[in-house]
Symmetry: D3
Subunit: 157 residues, 6 copies
């Protein structure tokens, strides 16, 4: 069992990848299915364009979830998509420790997620939703908000 | 060994995914390879566009087959594609119980494959080849045949 | 000038396609840009995965808009993406006449958009947002709502 | 008007590209639509995976045809797909002069299509269907047939 | 004729897009073709994955060039790829005025390309090759160089 | 441990696939990351276009490496990309025995890599870099060099 809290650097072996090939579903249903899977606890859901037999453009749906959520995911896939089978792959995930800091911009603070590898900050990702909100509130380009965040952060040594 | 007959809801752990990256094969050969793999017993074969080193657009060929067919598949991959290696991944498949019913359209009956999860019908897929044949025979749009099939089926409760 | 009201079958030659190649923008900004372009009046916006020089996976952004919206679109592209140039292509669009009808399901009515070609109904598309709302309200699969809609519609003659 | 017979090097300005975005059609219908469009005289039909609004994976259908076939193509697109509009782009095509020669393999002759630019052979494409037939008849890999063809051809000077 | 020097905001209508569909060429040749086209003066070259008839995964090659380079491009396409025809589309490009400034990082200066729309700086792109050289020289992550550049630039008002 | 030398037909179970989803990294960094991973000993690195939540076009980076290189790869992924987690999948690779022979062309010799399955030559791949060098040195199309190579090789029996 994985006893580390999720925000410390650790190896997680309680994950599974689920996969279905879909060649008989309209694309507009797939946008909806993605939302349902995230709401039900999927760690990630993504679509890859594939080509199947009989000249069919199709979609490979992949999702990542913890073992405890497998049944919920499977139910959504069978009820909301058109698949008759779901594939499961075991996997292991190495996750960085995550720390949240604040960056000051002239429009207000933005949370920045830092990823730490062996005690060293290797990632700094401004929170998208906060940047987007500032951009809309002040009617400025989103990229300008990100530039301000990077400007305000100390550069890594 | 998997002792369930293939049309009942079950977990199948006698499957393998095989994978090759192909950056030095013409696309027209790949259409042919797909046919050969299906004829030799592959459960599914599909292509994903990928980008490889040196600016090469390439194709990831993936196939799913039962363990007993692995050698046949490998032989086709080595003889008909340009790969020097084939990758294998273990996987588990959850399959729905499948039942075949008939739907009546004004142009004749169409087989519909139902998928059953915990005793409940969750999938109803009209057989493509039959719909296509009716469409061609009566010179009507394929989607009209599907609409008639859905019209004739009782809605699920 | 195009004097036909937009819901009748007609040829529209007052449209333009705009295009930019993007190899130095994070994907999360692109989701935001799509929303802005739609809000500003784009008829459609879509992304195509492409491969550019130096092994760069990239995105081709394409949008369709009427001539009167070109400046607004261009401003968003230059301010919100990282491009230094925007390409324009003239095009002509043939649009079907559109009529909106109602379909009755046991959970309530759904609007269906019909497309008419030479006086004949050739398209019937249930409105996605209404189907989604019913599905969420009654906690049923989205595809079941669509099946009910098709069930309730008279089949085309 | 284009007065050159189609097998001589020439500029063809009697072509059009047609385009539709499809986010509400199952992939299995698209395989069928492609066949219909080719049978009705399309010069080429191809699918590109795109991403549309609301997280919808979708397909861009593009086809090339001569101006005289536009109405036939448009009718198929409106009747067999789910689109409410078709886009048209003017284009010009430069075509090579084509000559057909025979290559001898130990399993029999294969037609090779040559493309000629300014009097010089720049392309030599063995006919796929003939190569495929030989491969199946003699139970040999398709690539071996192609290798034999290249072996038998004089190298270009 | 386009009389504006290339670094001022202007409309360029002396460009053409060229396009070929390729389903019988190995991917490794395409990496080479891209280099040749750039060397011969293409403004851009990019590949899009497409699906063609007979289940063939294929590549759409697109390039942008000025009218004066069309013949050179066409020759390369006919000699180095397997196509028998090349398609041409007229287009218009709106280009931003470009100005080059310097950003100081602790490892040395980096050129930044600015794009100017109606007198306002809307783009600032650090030169990739210079950032890459610094990263390699000092054995630091590339993204750290970019972060330093953004840190050193004044934020836009 | 895998005790077979790498050029004999064998099963290699000392490999791992690593995978990250990237929706907040510019494409130009990804070209650089690919080079770093190959230099550090990756057996293969490739990119697949995917679609993630919130309408984000994104990239799935996949790499194959031996178990002994896992830490080096992980460090590069965490330091050079924007990911906070890396996924690992066990896999098994069947590799063909490889033999290198020489083909004579009128411009000089080219190495050809042969793949051998059960004692039979099933693959023959001319070395790309050598073909490219000859093409550039003699200013001839790359495909002409390959044609000469195939011409000079004995056809397989």
């Amino acid at each position: 069992m994985n006893s580390h809290p999720p925000n410390h650097e650790h190896i997680d072996d309680q994950m599974v990848k689920m996969e279905v090939n879909l060649d008989n579903i309209p694309g507009e249903w797939l946008g909806y299915v993605m939302d349902l899977l995230f709401e039900a606890g999927a760690n990630d859901v993504f679509y890859t364009p594939i080509y199947m037999k009989k000249n069919r453009p199709a979609i490979l749906l992949q999702l990542l979830c913890s073992l405890e959520n497998v049944t919920k995911m499977k139910d959504i896939l069978f009820k909301e998509t058109t698949t008759l089978g779901v594939r499961f792959y075991p996997l292991t995930v190495h996750r960085l420790e995550r720390v949240f800091i604040k960056a000051d911009t002239k429009w207000g603070p933005i949370t920045v997620k830092e990823g730490i590898l062996n005690g060293q900050v290797v990632q700094r990702a401004p929170e998208y939703e906060e940047c987007k909100n500032l951009a809309q509130l002040h009617d400025i380009p989103l990229k300008q908000v990100y530039e301000q965040v990077w400007k305000s952060l100390d550069t890594k040594e």
